[in-house]
Symmetry: C3
């Protein structure tokens, strides 16, 4: 028995499946390039074993515990948010007894991949196999081959990006570099904490930014210089990109005087919600300008209503599975930035969306015209077989393959990295096989595109 | 010759179709649980024969006459809105001569099912078969096996919900109970007439509510008590749910004083449109509070712009095929209610949408997190093979199967009930077969899910 | 070797493909009816050879050069906007070396069709075949069979509509008529230049309209009379339709006095943006009223944010590939017009959208009810295999086949006409084959529908 079938996720028609198999064989073992994600540099700096199955599979994975929570399992019972898990085996059993909830979800695909490929488990997780799973995983984690650096090598990762605040010292990244280990763990510059005035700690963060950069961030020029300096610092540790998680995609192009006045308001804490939005908007354009200077690729991830569940936020904080997408408009929102820098081929801006109605209406037409724009892969809730199918069907005819950037795993769960890339490679192979079967492209083109989607486009777009 | 093929609606690939057949065989004959619809309790209370083919198939079915109307057939010629049909055979011939208009629509599937399965007709309806159809149906309707209660039994219905105003005496439901017949016809509490101040009769209805409940509905507390009392009364006749057909999904959570002041305005008829919307919003939250008290499951059906065609409304009234969906947002609209009650696992709120762009963007992420939320099946215009495919593809990966509630037939046409459930069962079987063929779930899991989608989830969600 | 496979675009399952082949055989050679497009009457009036491959395939086709531009090829290097191309072979080589960018796009399908079917080319366009292509095409263009009228006949075109300003003298259409050539090239009345006050030349255009029509267009009645007169004039040269490319679908139904006052403002140049929008809205209703008088079919093409790229617009003008769709709402926007004329079966209004989220939510429900409404085919960015699949899946179950109007090629590129119609015929055949394979319709019905989609519906809807 096995959890995974060799032909999983391929199209059902034998003729198409046969082509998909051939295409997949061409890309299956290509290195993993992971330019966007949320793993921890500390894991690789310290290279210590993960403590137990719950700390590995349940606690850090909001995909997992949000589904359990939606079906009445309390976060207390899952010991979410605890630094030390009191009864990991009990939590594991709760998880196992609810494993049927994940039927048909990508989480199931990712977990089964890790269970079988990494731990050799081949019977489905359930109440009756819970203890066997727990013990097998626990035993594995105690071995050298499950240390973070060993996993990095085993997964054939070529480069792995983390996501980091401008206030982060990047000490772990420096430690990795200094350790002599060959793994390439690079930071990504995520300035949200110092550019979003609606965050509670914004003013404190701006002050800290000044201290860390040796600039007077009470003034607009000093603030901008501090940001530019931190970007430079990130580059010294390998950063190739910035990342922007704004509520909307709004951009602005204020005069320097207007921007300086606005900065005064937000840094004084007297800006209203509209002014805060305008400030974030202006900062996207400032970041684009800096990218033209320093070459960092810009990623915009807008449209998530963060911490929708106020009780959960009050009790557990952020990233607890209660961020919910909202409708978004790119066409008007990006106008100011694009009017200023849209025709610069030296600039790369990668757009992501949680609102799939923008795929064919806005994103594909925008990316199929503006030289600076590229489209990120299906993101978050849409990083799934059906989500990828919609992306393929709705984006590529107008945007073209070459205005996309391959796959991002975007994960917090280290063990899900090869599983997620494998799903993407299989879905790409299946989609391309369908184009070949329908005689829309030739098979030699499909092979070339499969390699581009897996390896070429991501390296080029992220300048890796 | 036959109207129906044994393999209809199954996927075309032989490998997938074979799995679909096996799954369908497991659920084909399960009882029908129909927790939401618009059939009439009076039919079962009186148990009298339906008068003629037109009164059965054309007059009550806005799916049918809206399509004829869109192609230039006048409602006069169809004798819509007449209590006594003058020339039923002439209307039937008009319908028959336009039957090609329904090609590719679910209406065609439902009608052909009834024609063949209930009346044994096996040649397509057309001008040349119109009279044969008319006479065959007329002959059938005169027999005992076409009496409402006989149809209920023949359809293997286990429970059938109607939809009723708080002002309804439920005399027909009581008569059914007192008749000793074993059929389970339960009311659903639809308070729109007494909670939507934009309706012309709202103030009259609120007054009538007071009289029927023995409460002073001129005051906010009296009004709330009257509603609670009517809910209790509905429960004594088997009600398990409420239903809310608001223009939007907006909710509110006002202080008691604010709510009381707002109630004064609406009951005085001096509220403006925004205040009317706020009142409806507040009432959803009040209904959720009452549901926590009395256990009634809450259904929210928002987003229909009712009576879009003003001339048709003026002449024929409501439910005449001119309700048109509008864009809707759940994420912000539900925030106040969810902030108050969203984490209550004892509460069940079932959401429906006519705006499919909310499936993957809003509804699946919300239902995959909040313990009180469940997703209703594809509704109204989307209760169709392709509509179901979109629901499957866009909801289940993020929301999970277990946050859905099986099928609702939502019909006004008694004879369409088995047809509609059969379409849903076939589409479920086909979708699950595709997951099995793609090795995303195992076949034993698919069998379990097929049974859940047909029978288990609806019983659990509606507490039946 | 060949660029085109006989089975291209058909479904992959052998059973479905076999049905698709049969259906396609029924429609493959039906005449082309092209009721909406942007070819030039002048070509057919003068009947002169096209100058060179670049002027034919690259320069006029924004689908082509927008994709090249998005990947960093400058419009200068493509000599876009030049009346005389200086180095056509160099431009062609640039195009050829980027031909891989079109993989998976409809542009590739259209170009390959023209390359093989018209020029006999059978090896893929690339750097190495660029010169061979150039010379083959150049040689072809010099022959009589590539003159515009010869192509019209060779394509089996039955009628071809251009799109024309009310200010156009239609001299080319008259010249064609007077030439004795049997080809039917008809104008379509596109009044945007004289009804959209936001256009820079609006006031000048209104004045010119008065001069050309011999009316005093400084007054509201004179302006309306001038429009009615031009419509009549267009009809004398074969026009059957009007076309309206408004930013939104907004309509209005002002009193005559209100409309006259609003006209005064816009013609004085003192209207603000909201008044300009209201004027466009009112003009849609005025046009509907005139259509009831003169029988012209009305086409509404809303929802494109024109000239989004301001630098490109400033340098190259309109239709340069930087029009980007925007979200749109039909349900509220069309209410005023439909309240006035929606129940007139003598009126035909054909709706197009770039916002696919309106297909199932708004357009199909509207068209499945209002007798005056019909739905145009997938438009512009959605005129593609996947775009057609979405239209089929999202529109037809609710709107029905008979509320659609067959295919529009909407092209500026003469040689793409047969290619585009061929794609539509293949996709229709594939979709209908799928309905037959799923036993949702019988094959004799599919044959009838295939013929309707290809020929019958367009003739009827456009009154051709």
């Amino acid at each position: 028995m096995a959890l995974l079938n060799e032909d999983r996720l391929f199209p059902a028609e034998e003729k198409v499946r046969t082509i998909a198999r051939r295409l997949y064989a061409e890309i299956r073992n290509l290195p993993i390039v992971s330019p966007h994600g949320h793993t921890q540099a500390e894991w690789f700096a310290r290279n210590e074993p993960f403590p137990d199955p719950v700390a590995l599979f349940v606690q850090p994975d909001h995909y997992v515990f949000r589904m359990l929570y939606s079906q009445g399992v309390s976060l207390e019972d899952l010991e979410i948010g605890r630094t030390q898990i009191a009864e990991p085996r009990k939590v594991w059993r709760t998880f196992a007894s609810h494993y049927h909830l994940f039927r048909g979800t990508p989480t199931r695909l990712w977990l089964d991949f890790a269970f079988q490929e990494l731990f050799g488990l081949d019977e489905r997780l359930s109440t009756s196999t819970a203890d066997h799973y727990y013990e097998t995983i626990e035993r594995g984690l105690a071995t050298a081959e499950f240390l973070p650096r060993a996993l990095y090598d085993r997964f054939r990762i070529e480069v792995l990006a983390t996501t980091d605040s401008p206030l982060d010292s990047l000490a772990n990244h420096a430690a990795i570099r200094d350790s002599g280990w060959a793994g390439r763990i690079v930071p990504a510059f995520r300035p949200d904490p110092v550019v979003d005035p609606s965050l509670p700690d914004f003013r404190k963060n701006v002050q800290a930014l000044g201290e860390i950069a040796g600039e007077d961030t009470a003034t607009w020029p000093g603030y901008l210089s501090a940001l530019a300096a931190r970007r430079q610092f990130f580059k010294t540790l390998g950063a190739v990109s910035t990342d922007h998680g704004h509520p909307t995609a709004q951009t602005a192009d204020l005069s320097e005087a207007e921007a300086a006045r606005l900065f005064e308001l937000v840094v004084a804490g007297t800006a209203d919600a509209a002014q805060e939005e305008l400030f974030r908007a202006q900062m996207l354009t400032e970041m684009a300008r800096m990218s033209l200077d320093d070459g960092l690729v810009m990623q915009i991830h807008p449209g998530s209503a963060r911490n929708h569940n106020q009780q959960i936020f009050a009790r557990y904080g952020s990233n607890m599975g209660s961020d919910i997408p909202a409708p978004i408009n790119f066409v008007e929102a990006l106008r100011p930035l694009l009017a200023r820098f849209g025709n610069e081929p030296r600039l790369t801006i990668i757009l992501f969306t949680l609102d799939e109605s923008t795929y064919s209406r806005e994103l594909a037409p925008l990316a199929g015209h503006y030289p600076c724009l590229r489209l990120g892969p299906p993101w978050w809730f849409h990083d799934s077989p059906e989500g990828m199918k919609r992306f393929h069907a709705q984006v590529l005819e107008t945007g073209g393959f070459y205005n996309t950037v391959g796959f991002n795993d975007d994960t917090r769960a280290l063990l899900s990295i090869p599983a997620r890339h494998d799903v993407a490679r299989r879905m790409d192979a299946g989609f391309l096989a369908r184009l070949v079967a329908g005689q829309r492209i030739d098979e030699d083109e499909a092979v070339e595109l499969a390699r581009e989607l897996t390896y070429g486009l991501v390296k080029k777009a992220y300048r890796l």
